[in-house]
Protein backbone atom coordinates (compact mmCIF):
# COMPACT_ATOMS: atom_id res chain seq x y z
CA UNK A 1 0.00 0.00 0.00
CA UNK A 2 1.42 3.41 -0.92
CA UNK A 3 1.12 6.50 1.24
CA UNK A 4 -2.05 7.85 -0.37
CA UNK A 5 -3.82 4.48 -0.15
CA UNK A 6 -2.85 4.10 3.48
CA UNK A 7 -3.98 7.64 4.34
CA UNK A 8 -7.25 7.06 2.46
CA UNK A 9 -7.98 3.87 4.41
CA UNK A 10 -7.22 5.58 7.72
CA UNK A 11 -9.48 8.51 6.80
CA UNK A 12 -12.29 6.18 5.69
CA UNK A 13 -12.07 4.07 8.84
CA UNK A 14 -11.97 7.17 11.07
CA UNK A 15 -15.16 8.42 9.42
CA UNK A 16 -16.81 5.00 9.62
CA UNK A 17 -15.93 4.79 13.32
CA UNK A 18 -17.49 8.20 14.01
CA UNK A 19 -20.74 7.13 12.32
CA UNK A 20 -20.88 3.89 14.31
CA UNK A 21 -20.07 5.85 17.47
CA UNK A 22 -23.14 8.04 16.85
CA UNK A 23 -25.30 4.96 16.21
CA UNK A 24 -24.04 3.29 19.38
CA UNK A 25 -24.94 6.36 21.45
CA UNK A 26 -28.60 5.54 20.79
CA UNK A 27 -28.18 1.74 20.44
CA UNK A 28 -25.70 0.81 23.20
CA UNK A 29 -26.79 -2.86 23.25
CA UNK A 30 -26.40 -3.52 19.52
CA UNK A 31 -23.75 -6.24 19.50
CA UNK A 32 -23.35 -6.24 15.73
CA UNK A 33 -22.61 -2.50 15.65
CA UNK A 34 -20.22 -2.82 18.57
CA UNK A 35 -18.40 -5.64 16.80
CA UNK A 36 -17.99 -3.52 13.66
CA UNK A 37 -16.87 -0.57 15.80
CA UNK A 38 -14.27 -2.57 17.75
CA UNK A 39 -12.91 -4.31 14.65
CA UNK A 40 -12.59 -0.97 12.87
CA UNK A 41 -10.86 0.67 15.83
CA UNK A 42 -8.34 -2.19 15.97
CA UNK A 43 -7.77 -2.00 12.21
CA UNK A 44 -7.23 1.76 12.11
CA UNK A 45 -4.85 1.54 15.06
CA UNK A 46 -2.73 -0.92 13.09
CA UNK A 47 -2.85 1.22 9.96
CA UNK A 48 -1.95 4.37 11.91
CA UNK A 49 1.09 2.61 13.38
CA UNK A 50 2.12 1.41 9.94
CA UNK A 51 1.71 4.91 8.52
CA UNK A 52 3.75 6.47 11.31
CA UNK A 53 6.57 3.98 10.86
CA UNK A 54 6.73 4.36 7.09
CA UNK A 55 5.76 7.96 6.40
CA UNK A 56 6.07 9.95 9.62
CA UNK A 57 3.72 11.53 12.07
CA UNK A 58 0.00 11.99 11.48
CA UNK A 59 -0.46 13.81 14.78
CA UNK A 60 1.96 15.91 16.78
CA UNK A 61 0.53 14.52 20.00
CA UNK A 62 0.79 10.96 21.27
CA UNK A 63 2.96 9.85 18.35
CA UNK A 64 6.54 8.63 18.57
CA UNK A 65 9.06 10.13 16.17
CA UNK A 66 12.28 8.84 14.67
CA UNK A 67 15.37 11.02 14.75
CA UNK A 68 15.22 13.79 13.74
CA UNK A 69 11.84 15.17 14.86
CA UNK A 70 9.44 14.20 12.04
CA UNK A 71 6.56 16.63 12.49
CA UNK A 72 8.22 19.50 10.63
CA UNK A 73 8.81 17.42 7.50
CA UNK A 74 6.85 18.65 4.49
CA UNK A 75 4.09 18.44 3.46
CA UNK A 76 1.95 19.59 6.36
CA UNK A 77 -1.36 17.73 6.75
CA UNK A 78 -3.37 20.80 5.69
CA UNK A 79 -1.46 21.21 2.42
CA UNK A 80 -2.83 19.86 -0.84
CA UNK A 81 0.24 17.66 -1.44
CA UNK A 82 -0.40 15.82 1.82
CA UNK A 83 -3.88 14.67 0.88
CA UNK A 84 -5.22 12.03 -1.47
CA UNK A 85 -7.85 12.71 -4.10
CA UNK A 86 -11.29 11.42 -3.17
CA UNK A 87 -12.01 9.87 -6.56
CA UNK A 88 -14.98 8.09 -8.08
CA UNK A 89 -13.16 4.78 -7.87
CA UNK A 90 -13.68 4.46 -4.11
CA UNK A 91 -16.03 1.84 -2.64
Amino acid sequence: MNRDELLQQITALDFYIIDLHLYLNTHPNDGQALELYNASVRKVKELREEYTQRFGMLLANNTESRQPWQWIDDPWPWQRAFNFNLGEDMG
Partner: protein
Protein backbone atom coordinates in the same frame (compact mmCIF):
# COMPACT_ATOMS: atom_id res chain seq x y z
CA UNK B 1 -14.63 -13.06 6.41
CA UNK B 2 -15.21 -9.48 5.33
CA UNK B 3 -17.17 -7.94 8.20
CA UNK B 4 -18.38 -5.10 5.97
CA UNK B 5 -19.97 -7.47 3.43
CA UNK B 6 -23.75 -6.79 3.35
CA UNK B 7 -24.43 -10.36 2.16
CA UNK B 8 -23.52 -11.54 5.64
CA UNK B 9 -26.20 -9.66 7.59
CA UNK B 10 -28.64 -7.82 5.34
CA UNK B 11 -30.90 -10.57 4.00
CA UNK B 12 -34.52 -9.83 4.94
CA UNK B 13 -33.47 -7.16 7.42
CA UNK B 14 -35.69 -4.05 7.81
CA UNK B 15 -33.46 -1.12 8.82
CA UNK B 16 -35.96 0.67 11.08
CA UNK B 17 -38.76 0.05 13.54
CA UNK B 18 -42.05 -0.24 11.69
CA UNK B 19 -44.52 0.35 14.55
CA UNK B 20 -44.44 3.26 16.97
CA UNK B 21 -46.67 2.84 19.99
CA UNK B 22 -48.21 5.40 22.32
CA UNK B 23 -48.29 8.22 19.80
CA UNK B 24 -49.98 11.54 20.68
CA UNK B 25 -51.53 14.20 18.49
CA UNK B 26 -49.36 17.16 17.54
CA UNK B 27 -46.11 15.35 18.41
CA UNK B 28 -43.53 14.41 15.78
CA UNK B 29 -42.05 10.90 15.82
CA UNK B 30 -38.95 9.45 14.24
CA UNK B 31 -38.80 5.67 13.81
CA UNK B 32 -35.83 4.07 15.53
CA UNK B 33 -33.06 2.96 13.19
CA UNK B 34 -32.00 -0.70 13.18
CA UNK B 35 -28.68 -1.95 11.88
CA UNK B 36 -28.81 -4.31 8.92
CA UNK B 37 -25.61 -3.62 7.04
CA UNK B 38 -23.16 -0.82 6.45
CA UNK B 39 -21.11 0.43 3.54
CA UNK B 40 -17.43 -0.40 3.53
CA UNK B 41 -15.42 2.35 5.25
CA UNK B 42 -14.33 3.64 1.81
CA UNK B 43 -17.93 3.59 0.55
CA UNK B 44 -19.09 5.39 3.70
CA UNK B 45 -16.57 8.18 3.15
CA UNK B 46 -17.91 8.70 -0.36
CA UNK B 47 -21.59 8.60 0.64
CA UNK B 48 -21.31 10.65 3.81
CA UNK B 49 -22.82 7.94 6.00
CA UNK B 50 -21.98 4.36 6.97
CA UNK B 51 -25.67 3.40 6.73
CA UNK B 52 -27.29 2.71 3.34
CA UNK B 53 -30.85 3.66 4.49
CA UNK B 54 -29.60 7.16 5.42
CA UNK B 55 -28.33 8.08 1.95
CA UNK B 56 -30.20 11.02 0.44
CA UNK B 57 -33.36 10.56 2.53
CA UNK B 58 -34.78 13.92 1.40
CA UNK B 59 -34.23 13.26 -2.29
CA UNK B 60 -31.63 16.00 -2.74
CA UNK B 61 -30.12 16.36 -6.20
CA UNK B 62 -27.71 18.90 -7.61
CA UNK B 63 -29.45 21.90 -9.14
CA UNK B 64 -29.27 22.36 -12.90
CA UNK B 65 -27.53 25.52 -13.97
CA UNK B 66 -30.78 26.95 -15.33
CA UNK B 67 -32.64 26.65 -12.01
CA UNK B 68 -33.66 29.84 -10.27
CA UNK B 69 -33.63 30.35 -6.51
CA UNK B 70 -36.69 29.17 -4.64
CA UNK B 71 -37.76 26.54 -7.12
Amino acid sequence: MNIYDPEVTAAGCVPQETTIEGVKLAHAYVPFQKLCDTFTPEGALMKGTAFPPLVNVYGWRPKDKGDTAGE
